[in-house]
Symmetry: none
Subunit: 402 residues, 2 copies
């Protein structure tokens, strides 16, 4: 089954909103083995809409359309689909009732425009919208399935999950099982180069890397027939990936490095205090983002100026004067100073300058009876350098927690 | 000038990532008067890529493509564009140098794959990427402009803003003069309702609101012929907007609330220290993000556990025991405790629970000889509640700095 996701809405083309529906639809379809071959977005324009529908019908056997089901004259998706397919619209009394009730409940008068929302293509399956007046619909004609959903994500997504996906799942002959491997400390291109023999020859399972700042995720997906639970081909690939780049693998659970660190610290009973300078609270904030962080995170000090480093962290004035605030020595004293009653103290001090100037960061870690200092140089823009410093700190935490 | 935005990447079609680039590109093009007639996304598949490029060339005179400029065999955008246009690739020594330097600096080995990233279509304009190895390019052939940008937003967006938009702006017969009005303390729908008579009847200038978490920006764009500097129509609209919702306007400079706060503090010679609990460093981090923050930001304490509130901020144990860590009284003592030698002390303490439970946040501000406490309730998800708390703190700072 091959699908195109066709979004309708001038507001998307103007950049007024991000098209998140396409992502949610694609993700849901992937999970049931429907291949999405294209996303398209067009404006509220009848000629282009018609062209786009005809074009999609040539290439896909499923089209999922979002938007253009509202009550205004601009909302034309249903009407154009019926034109293209030569299907008539007919009144659905249940939908009319439902719309009337919504208006009554909100104390508004139903306008003549809204009557339009109670009409549906003959023989279509109506998808009830619990969050608005625009019901959706499924048309199954000549082996083509066309599904129309409203544009607002809070209406579209529940209708997709509760009705569309179960409907399509019944039609599929295959299942898809994905494993996500999470890496840190290796770049996307280096990872790909090391695994190129696997990536080049992939068919089933498929292998796809995704890069974030500082981390890379590898998705390995095996397709099997319904009822067949043998995923040994994926397992073999995973084993080989581990043999080659296992040292950079931190999780097989599709979790962020922050989630992994917090989970690992809870498991090992560790607690952490964090001193930050150039990263201004980003490391602390990224850990506090994780549910359960309160079990491991004690406190953070953003010692941006030197007085704060001296007063709050006990860095010696002489150290800063002799070596500078961005130095191995200052990072060491900050890490020792912040640790307190926590089992881990970590400190970041650096210059995040971007552009021509190189950003330099020192990270100090006080753990057990040792203090280790790491130095990094970054060449990106200021805020990217800061994010990279945070990821390096997380990479160091991963090392000591292993 | 009519444009299609063509995104390349199987990861988008699989729903692994949201296509935010298309929105940013569309928004930027709108602001310089380029009409976007379509967004398309296709996978890393040479046949479909070729079809899509040929199709776009028929309908648009500008194509902006993102993705597929990486070092792997899957990355084919540049190669296919050259095939379609009949243009050769040639080595760019400067780009090669740049890539080598990035690998050297990060301590990685440059793989043979990366060499590919130093090749560009003959006679193309190279767009330097300051955040990665994939430089972009502009091809201007037979009145068609094809622009290739890398997929990762942190690379794509700066290249778009610094090079692509200024390049396209020069080619237009019209000028677009945009004023961005920045609001805080009013929601997008409330703002739209109050300005609906202006928004409904717009043609020139155009008026478009954009919402962020906690802030709204209104773009007012007047189109004039090159050489015509009469923007009086926009000025009239701006005046009327100010009359209606001026109390929520913090800037006419298209700046973030963080940038405004830092600028204003520098102007007034204020300095700030910040104590955070539930927001875990987000407020500090958001201010430190701003260039020049070191002039105003003294220090931040992330007092996540009660001991830290007591030891670092001097909150009385009795206060926490009697009123709780999330209370007006604790917020007050935190604000007083953090201020130190700074002219402003601000403290956030709250429960960011989302879902069924309401998130409650207290913000305390110590300024001059007064301490004020504000209470907020939020009903979104955990991390959105935290972001809203941060914006409320910034809104309070805006009030006291006015």
């Amino acid at each position: 089954m091959i699908c195109e996701v066709l979004s309708v809405g001038t507001e998307i083309l103007l950049g007024s909103i991000v098209n998140t529906n396409s992502q949610v639809i694609s993700e849901s379809l992937s999970s049931i083995g429907v291949t999405v071959y294209k996303h398209s977005t067009i404006g509220d324009n009848p000629t282009r809409l018609k062209e786009a529908i005809i074009d999609s019908l040539e290439k896909s056997n499923i089209i999922i359309m979002t938007g253009g089901l509202g009550p205004t004259d601009d909302d034309l998706t249903k009407e154009i689909v019926c034109q293209v397919l030569g299907v008539e619209l007919e009144l659905d009394e249940m939908s009319l009732d439902q719309i009337k009730k919504i208006f009554d409940k909100n104390g508004y008068t139903m306008s003549a425009n809204n009557l339009k929302q109670a009409y549906f293509p003959k023989n279509s399956i109506i998808i009830k919208n619990n969050n608005g007046t625009a019901n959706g619909m499924i048309l199954n004609i000549n082996d083509n399935i066309i599904i129309l959903l409203p544009g607002p994500p809070n209406e579209c997504v529940p209708m997709l999950k509760h009705t569309v996906i179960p409907y399509l799942k019944k039609l599929s002959k295959y299942k898809f099982n994905s494993t996500y491997l999470n890496f840190i400390g290796i770049g996307e291109s280096e990872l790909e180069a090391k695994l190129s023999h696997l990536i080049k020859n992939q068919s089933n399972p498929t292998i796809a890397p995704y890069a974030n700042v500082g981390t890379v995720t590898l998705r390995i997906t095996e397709k099997t027939k319904l009822g067949d639970d043998d995923y040994s081909k994926a397992e073999e690939v995973i084993k080989e990936v581990e043999n080659i780049v296992g040292e950079f693998l931190y999780s097989k659970q599709n979790e962020s490095i922050e989630e992994y660190i917090v989970k690992k610290m809870i498991e090992k009973g560790e607690t952490i205090s964090i001193a930050e300078s150039c990263t201004g609270g980003m490391l602390s904030s990224s850990l506090v983002d994780v549910k359960g962080a309160s079990k491991v995170f004690a406190e953070g000090i953003i010692a941006y100026d030197n007085e704060s480093k001296i007063n709050r962290l006990g860095v010696k004035r002489a150290t800063i004067e002799k070596y500078g605030a961005v130095s191995e020595q200052t990072a060491r004293e900050m890490a020792i100073g912040i640790r307190g009653d926590s089992s881990i103290g970590i400190a970041i001090t650096g210059v995040s300058e971007g552009g021509e100037k190189e950003g330099v960061t020192f990270i100090g870690v006080s753990y057990k009876n040792k203090v280790n200092i790491f130095r990094y140089a970054f060449t990106s823009e200021r805020n990217i350098n800061r994010m990279k410093s945070v990821k390096k700190a997380l990479e160091i935490l991963k090392m000591i927690l292993n």
